[in-house]
């Protein structure tokens, strides 16, 4: 825990976004995580993405479960709404919130323990429902908060701080998502904001459930030699499979497309994700091909990062359930709760 709060001073060339806010205006309270924790860098990437997108703080809802990672919503956008749920229960809470108020932007921050162990079932159903939210897994291969036990994302053979090797196969949230019909899948690294920030921005613009698995080293319990989730190991084994560039809506992009045969995916709101430097015949909309690509690379011990799969066609939670176009708060009470008579009439139908 730092000795002081971050001084309220700005660099003279600090920029302001469309709302007139500086990057500093998107910060939260001081982090209490260990110095050097990857999670803090993910927080900084979120701060930057939201600032660049000029998200209005009061239109944001921060969702989380339990874990070091799940603490991080306290460290960005103090002015936003938020819900810190029980361990692993963030997906259903976020689903409910989403159903009730579809006008907010939902950003969930979870951990590999929170999402892939205790909360795995909930996560699967949120994926299936295509809940409209950004779902970040700060993946460090351990339960950081409870002092470094292997989590379900630990690779076979990775060593604990005491030298013991993990034997159980890992759950890869990206491959899991592919198999469950997820509509936006990306992997980042906390040590590479240049890659992570545009992915976050695209995820915010995506119309459904956007999973971003971020390798986020735990400096205290999982950054040693023998760990496959350390800063050094990640840097040595990571490939940036795709380079992405987020182009906001209403920006003239046609002229900018270079002749390098890039792929571009237009998102629902008119923004565009441009892929460059993708491997030959990589198609971010071909579920099967992406699954194959991921499995091949995993077998070769490579950590594939980048925005890997996007599907803008599958209906999201609101479209599937035909929910009202506005937040429930704007639906008149009489309509929300039609009264005892209507209930009786309804029950009559089933007698």
């Amino acid at each position: 825990m730092p000795s002081i709060a971050k001084p309220a001073v700005l660099h003279p060339s600090a920029q302001r976004n469309e709302l007139g806010l500086t990057l500093r205006d998107y910060e939260g309270s001081m982090s209490t995580l260990c110095a050097g924790c990857g999670h803090d860098s993910v927080t900084a990437a979120i701060v930057r993405a939201l600032w660049e997108l000029s998200v209005e703080p009061h239109k944001l809802a921060k969702m989380s479960g339990i874990g070091c990672s799940s603490k991080t919503p306290a460290y960005f956008v103090t002015g936003a709404h938020g819900f810190n749920s029980a361990h692993g229960r963030m997906p259903p809470i976020a689903t409910g919130a989403n159903a009730a108020n579809r006008e907010l932007l939902y950003i969930g921050v979870s951990g590999d323990g929170d999402s892939l162990s205790i909360g795995l079932g909930h996560l699967c159903h949120a994926i299936r429902r295509n809940v409209r939210m950004v779902y970040i897994i700060e993946n460090n291969g351990v339960y950081g908060l409870t002092k470094g036990q292997f989590s379900a994302s630990a690779d076979v053979g990775t060593k604990s701080k005491k030298g013991e090797a993990n034997r159980m196969a890992p759950i890869d949230p990206i491959q899991l998502g592919l198999s469950l019909g997820a509509t936006f899948l990306a992997r980042g690294f906390s040590g590479d904001k240049e890659q992570l920030v545009p992915i976050l921005k695209a995820a915010v613009a995506h119309r459904g459930f956007a999973i971003i698995d971020v390798v986020s080293p735990c400096v205290t319990f999982n950054d040693h030699t023998g760990s496959t989730k350390s800063y050094l190991y990640t840097r040595q084994h990571r490939i940036r499979a795709t380079e992405t560039d987020y182009v906001p809506p209403a920006t003239e992009i046609l002229t900018e497309i270079s002749p390098r045969g890039e792929t571009a995916v237009t998102l629902h709101d008119g923004s565009v994700v441009r892929f460059s430097a993708v491997p030959a015949d990589y198609n971010p909309s071909d579920r099967l091909a992406v699954a194959k690509f991921l499995q091949e690379n995993a077998a070769d011990g490579r950590i594939v990062t980048g925005l890997l799969y996007v599907d803008e066609a599958t209906p999201n939670i609101h479209e599937m359930n035909n929910t009202p176009a506005k937040a429930l708060t704007s639906v008149p009470w009489s309509k929300l709760c039609p009264g005892a008579e209507m209930l009786n009439a309804l029950q009559e139908e089933f007698r």
């Binding site: 730092p2 000795s3 971050k6 001084p7 660099h11 600090a14 924790c37 900084a44 904001k193 800063y231």
Partner: protein, 595 residues
């Protein structure tokens, strides 16, 4: 960019903007911390080591440190460095025992100093502890030079001058008062090992326009101030015109206000942005009801029946840079007295031109600006007499340099062999997230100096106007200092590139990026480094990716958060101390704080 060499004492010295900006390189952040800890005597002594006259300078310094203060770049106004110096001086305790001992056995060398102003006294201060015998010649009855004669007592009380000059004289300097030196040849014939000329710039510039010599109501500013200081003049007419708008003009108008002047006008040729006077001196004069009129060039003095009745001025209109002017009309201003405060000149009528001291076309001695030695090897200059009128703090610094030269000269070492500066760099870590300095940022605004009220201050000529900071003001002002001497020291080989420092830095000073040349690097940092006067630090390549750590020094607030968030202690906060050599580099000079 090549990796920055932080072992070069100048690198971190430049980061301490105030100290770098001070001609005598006073260790400002350290003396402010000592004040914060209530260690006023030590703070005073630390000041004294570099600037010799802390109580005098705490009231009168031109403060070159303040415009460059990092705090001004962070939140508009600099730390009140000068006024804090006065706090240390006001609250100091006994310090006689902390002064360097004066050897009873002399080194056999005898130096003559001409003038007993700040330059000569500072030379004596540096040389007496080395065993020199010093004889000082002063034309007036008291020491202090222009500090006494030209700075009015309501800004600088005589008792303060007495004390700080006295401490040096009491080291055993043989001062001959009321003894002007009429001939340098004569002095040289007395057989001194070296002569130091610290006679100031004693001649006020004249204004040769019609009517100048037809009345005795036109005064030369510095001469008039001197007459007031020594009690020869105690009144002036009600309507006074001051010609010129430098600091002497401000002293003249405010003195006039105390001697009976009621309608006092300072007449400036140029617009306000081009004034020489320090902004705070202008403010103080205006507070006392003095009018400052711009764009008036003096044309002639107007006399009626042999009596001065006023002056004609040409009203000018200037171009933007105030380079070219046009005369609009002639305007008459009535007055009883005129004071000319348009600058000072050097005058050396007592130096024979055949002694081997070369003079240039402006009739100034030709000196080596580093050694301050003249073309006659045993004659040295310092202060306003050396390179033209500057200010007290420059006089002190030149005296330090001249003392080094004199010492070398007497020891038979080439005067160009300057003793090197050293540096200390010491970790301030006390524990996890714990530092030995107060690292928090205090958003308090600059404290305003309280003044004696407008009635009381005119009661007597020597009522000091500035009251000094109250304890509460002092407590707040010391907290505004950003501790620029506590450096962010980086060890590249420990860095794991986790970005924690970059994410925590409040002012976006840090970037990890691919190397490039400096100009290009400056454009692609976390925040573009647009202030080219401030260095950017570049590290050696980092172990994991070969990128480099770059730090823009410009607005680092030295909060230490980068070091607190660093998991590998690649960043540390280390106190930098530049060890400036003085003559003989006495041991007491290198200790950070006297024991």
């Amino acid at each position: 960019m090549k990796p920055t060499d932080v072992q070069d004492p100048n690198y971190y010295h430049k980061v301490v903007d105030c100290q770098w900006g001070c001609p005598a390189h006073t260790n400002v952040p350290e003396y402010i911390r000592l004040i914060a800890q209530g260690r006023y005597t030590e703070s005073y002594m630390l000041n004294r080591k570099s600037n010799v006259f802390p109580a005098i300078l705490g009231r009168t310094c031109d403060r070159p440190c303040e415009p460059v203060c990092r705090r001004a770049r962070v939140d508009t106004s600099p730390v009140a460095i000068c006024r804090l110096k006065r706090v240390a001086a006001d609250l100091k305790g006994e310090y006689g025992h902390l002064l360097p001992p004066i050897p009873a056995r002399k080194n056999g060398k005898h130096i003559a100093c001409v003038g007993a102003g700040p330059a000569s006294l500072a030379v004596a201060n540096d040389l007496m502890p080395l065993g020199y015998r010093i004889t000082m010649f002063e034309k007036s009855a008291k020491p202090g030079g222009l500090m006494r004669s030209n700075i009015p007592a309501f800004r600088l009380p005589g008792s303060i001058i007495d004390e700080e000059c006295g401490v040096i004289i009491d080291m055993g300097v043989d001062v001959r008062y009321n003894t002007p030196v009429p001939s340098l040849r004569g002095l040289l014939q007395e057989g001194y090992d070296a002569v130091f000329v610290g006679t100031g710039a004693p001649r006020g510039k004249n204004l040769e326009i019609p009517g100048r010599y037809d009345t005795d109501r036109i005064h030369i500013g510095i001469d008039w101030l001197e007459s007031v200081a020594f009690g020869h003049i105690d009144s002036i007419g009600e309507r006074v015109l001051i010609i010129g708008v430098g600091n002497t003009a401000m002293d003249c108008c405010r003195t006039s206000r105390r001697l009976g002047g009621k309608d006092i006008k300072v007449m400036a040729r140029r617009p306000r942005d081009f004034f020489k006077a320090s902004p705070w001196e202008l403010e103080d004069a205006e507070e006392e009801g003095v009018d400052i009129l711009i764009n008036f060039a003096p044309k002639r003095f107007v006399l009626e029946n042999g009596r001065l009745v006023g002056m004609d001025f040409e009203r000018l209109s200037w171009d933007v840079q105030a380079k070219k002017s046009q005369t609009l009309e002639t305007v008459f201003f009535p007055c009883d007295d005129v004071i000319l405060a348009i600058g000072q000149e050097n005058a050396f009528p007592w130096i024979e031109r055949d002694l081997g001291i070369e003079f240039d076309k402006w009739d100034m001695p030709v000196l080596d600006p580093t050694t301050l030695q003249s073309s006659l090897p045993n004659v040295f200059f310092g202060g306003d007499a050396a390179l033209g009128p500057k200010n007290i703090i420059w006089a002190v610094e030149q005296a330090h340099q001249a003392a080094i030269s004199i010492h070398n000269f007497c020891e038979g070492i080439p005067v160009t062999d300057r003793p090197p500066n050293g540096m200390n760099l010491i970790s301030q870590k006390m524990g996890i997230s714990e530092w030995s300095y107060h690292n928090d940022f205090n958003p308090a605004p600059r404290q305003k100096m309280k003044h004696v009220d407008l009635v009381e201050r005119f009661r007597e000529l020597n009522v000091e106007v500035e009251l000094g900071f109250s304890p509460e003001q002092t407590a707040r002002e010391v907290q505004r200092c950003l501790n620029c001497d506590i450096e962010t020291e980086f060890t590249p080989k420990r860095c794991i590139e986790c970005d924690a420092c970059i994410d925590i830095c409040p002012t976006q000073c840090l970037t990890i990026t691919a190397n490039g040349d400096e100009a290009e690097l400056r454009t692609r940092l976390s925040a573009p480094a647009l202030n080219l006067e401030q260095a950017i630090y570049a590290s050696a390549p980092l172990p994991q990716t070969g990128r480099i750590m770059v730090k823009d020094e410009d607005v680092c607030v030295h909060c230490g958060l980068c070091a607190e968030r660093c998991p590998t202690a690649a960043w540390d906060m280390q106190k930098f101390e530049i060890l400036i050599s003085l003559a003989g580099t006495q041991e007491w000079n290198t200790a950070l704080v006297p024991a």
